[in-house]
């Protein structure tokens, strides 16, 4: 498997390490923080099909990436910088408020 790092280009699997489901850390101040953190930590997506997941380019640029990959075929349809995804998410959240 090869991942097309937006900074380094396409690189072999062994340069990356895997975290899993690209879930967002919940708000620690929310009243149901215990439940939310339990779900964040333990009930991670495990779908058979396309999944958004976090990878780290450990032997490269040290970027965290959001990779969209089909867990049945290992086909990767999209790779994005995690930081850019996270910033965009905050922007949307900010607009929504």
């Amino acid at each position: 498997m090869r991942i097309n790092c937006p900074h380094c280009g396409e690189r072999s699997l062994d340069e990356f390490s895997y975290l899993g489901d690209a879930v967002v850390r919940p708000d620690p101040a929310s009243p149901n923080a215990q439940d939310a953190f339990y779900a964040y930590g333990y009930e991670r997506a495990n779908v058979a099909g396309p999944m958004q997941e976090l990878w780290y380019h450990a032997a490269g640029c040290h970027a965290w990436l959001v990779v969209t990959r089909d867990t049945r075929t290992h086909e990767i349809s999209e790779v994005k910088s995690a930081q850019e995804v996270a910033l965009a998410r905050q922007k949307v959240a900010g607009t929504a408020q």
Binding site: S17, Y18, Y38, G41, Y42, N46, T71, H74
Partner: protein, 420 residues
């Protein structure tokens, strides 16, 4: 001509004389009845063992096992066949030791030779810290009445004189040995339990994939399958590898990820390794099958997957470990590699528990320790289903232990399944 049903010296001899024509099917090709007391989803080792013990120990014989393909097509048919009970934590030790004891009596119980072979499991250590960690483990086992020996380098050398002692990057300092550990012919476990369950009246229904669950007021009433609806008072899930997918049909989210573990076998060679050896400084463990192939494996690939195959980096990593430990095997050839999908739980330990849905029971999260657990898993799951309360040795395997913070984390890797 009478059928030979029971395996005995007499029947084997008789069939030899009459051209093996008197054997009947090891299990019937059952078609689903409208309903059962219990339906077990998953005709792997755990599901079949559960059905067997439900019938044998708990008197429940109106039981069906539904399997989407052929029985034994999951991890019982694609593992590296090791059995052992060298666990560290109190939540695990009694369970795996019960499993070990069941293995020891399995063949007589089932009248089926699954080749349970106790040739020893040796975990090598390469540093003082590793030695002390293994001492802690060995001592925990001994306090539970389980055999464990801490060997020094010379004792390891006398067992396996040809490992790499003198030019190793991480020299072998010793090992933790469980002599009662060993290997079992994996496929035969599925067939033996299937045959045993079948003889007690259990229906084994192959090529029936579960497509949904039917509920009535929060209580389970049966399963939808590709061979039609099958009613059930109780349903047990034993579909490790696909647990999340199947449980999702019942609206259940599990603390589990699916990962692929590759396994390997070499061409057959004359006896080289008697027992099981695990390399403490790399990802590699090895034994030799009775057919002569070196059977070995290492780490999981490390990413979520439902494809039963892995990639080259892990292949290389495992083989590097093999050569580092045993430079004699450089010219032996790898024959085949394959992958199995593991239910990786969030603490590396399994789950055998009720679910929030009445009548629906869950067994999974076996990580890559499922094969050795097969008998105890079957027995404990049967107990849970029959009595609606956990078996004594499986009390810690609760579904809610992550919520309450009672993890059973042998490796200390936390909620990152690919590190267990």
């Amino acid at each position: 001509m009478p059928r030979s049903d029971r395996y005995s010296i007499f029947s084997v001899f008789l069939e030899g004389l009459r051209g093996q024509t008197g054997w009947g099917p090891a299990w019937r090709k059952a078609s689903p009845k409208p309903s059962y007391d219990v339906v077990i989803v998953g005709g792997g080792g755990h599901g079949l063992a559960t059905a067997y013990y439900l019938a044998k120990r708990y008197g429940l014989t109106n039981v069906a096992v539904v399997e989407k393909g052929w029985i034994g097509s999951g991890n019982v048919g694609r593992n590296t066949t090791i059995v052992r009970s060298n666990y560290l934590l109190p939540g695990n030790i009694p369970f795996y030791e019960m499993s070990m004891k069941l293995w020891e009596g399995l063949e007589q119980d089932l009248n089926y030779n699954a080749m349970v072979s106790q040739r020893g499991v040796l975990n090598l250590y390469h540093s003082d810290a590793q030695r002390d960690a293994y001492a802690r483990r060995g001592n925990a086992m001994r306090l539970h009445g389980i055999d464990a020996e801490l060997l020094d380098r010379e004792a390891v050398r006398s067992m396996y004189p040809w490992l790499n002692y003198d030019s190793a990057r991480f020299p072998i300092q010793g090992g933790l040995l469980q002599r009662r550990g060993g290997t079992v012919r994996h496929d035969a476990v599925a067939w033996g339990y299937a045959r045993g369950a079948d003889r007690l009246g259990v229906d084994i229904i192959e090529n029936a994939e579960v497509t949904g669950f039917r509920l009535d007021k929060g209580k389970i009433t049966g399963v939808e399958t590709t061979r039609g609806f099958i009613g059930a008072n109780k349903v047990g899930l034993a579909v490790a590898g696909n647990s999340s997918r199947v449980a999702a049909m019942a609206g259940l989210t599990l603390p589990i990820e699916s990962h692929v573990l590759q396994a390997f076998v070499s061409e057959g060679i004359k006896p080289l390794i008697d027992g099981v050896v695990t390399f403490g400084a790399g990802h590699f463990y090895v034994s030799q099958s009775d057919k002569g192939g070196l059977v070995f494996g290492g780490d999981i690939d490390g990413y979520n997957t439902y494809a039963q195959r892995g990639n080259l980096p892990v292949v290389e990593d495992v083989l590097e470990g093999g050569m580092a430990l045993m430079p004699r095997i450089g010219r032996v050839r790898l024959l085949r590699s394959w992958g199995g999908i593991m239910d990786m739980s969030m603490d590396g330990s399994p789950i055998i528990d009720r679910t929030p849905t009445e009548g629906l029971y869950f067994n999974g999260g076996w990580c890559y320790g499922g094969f050795k657990a097969t008998p105890a898993s079957g027995l404990c799951f049967a107990h849970l289903i029959a009595r609606n309360e956990p078996h004594e040795v499986a009390r810690a395997y609760r579904l809610d232990r992550f919520r309450t913070g009672h993890m059973i984390d042998e490796k200390g890797m936390g909620n990152q399944p690919n590190l267990h």
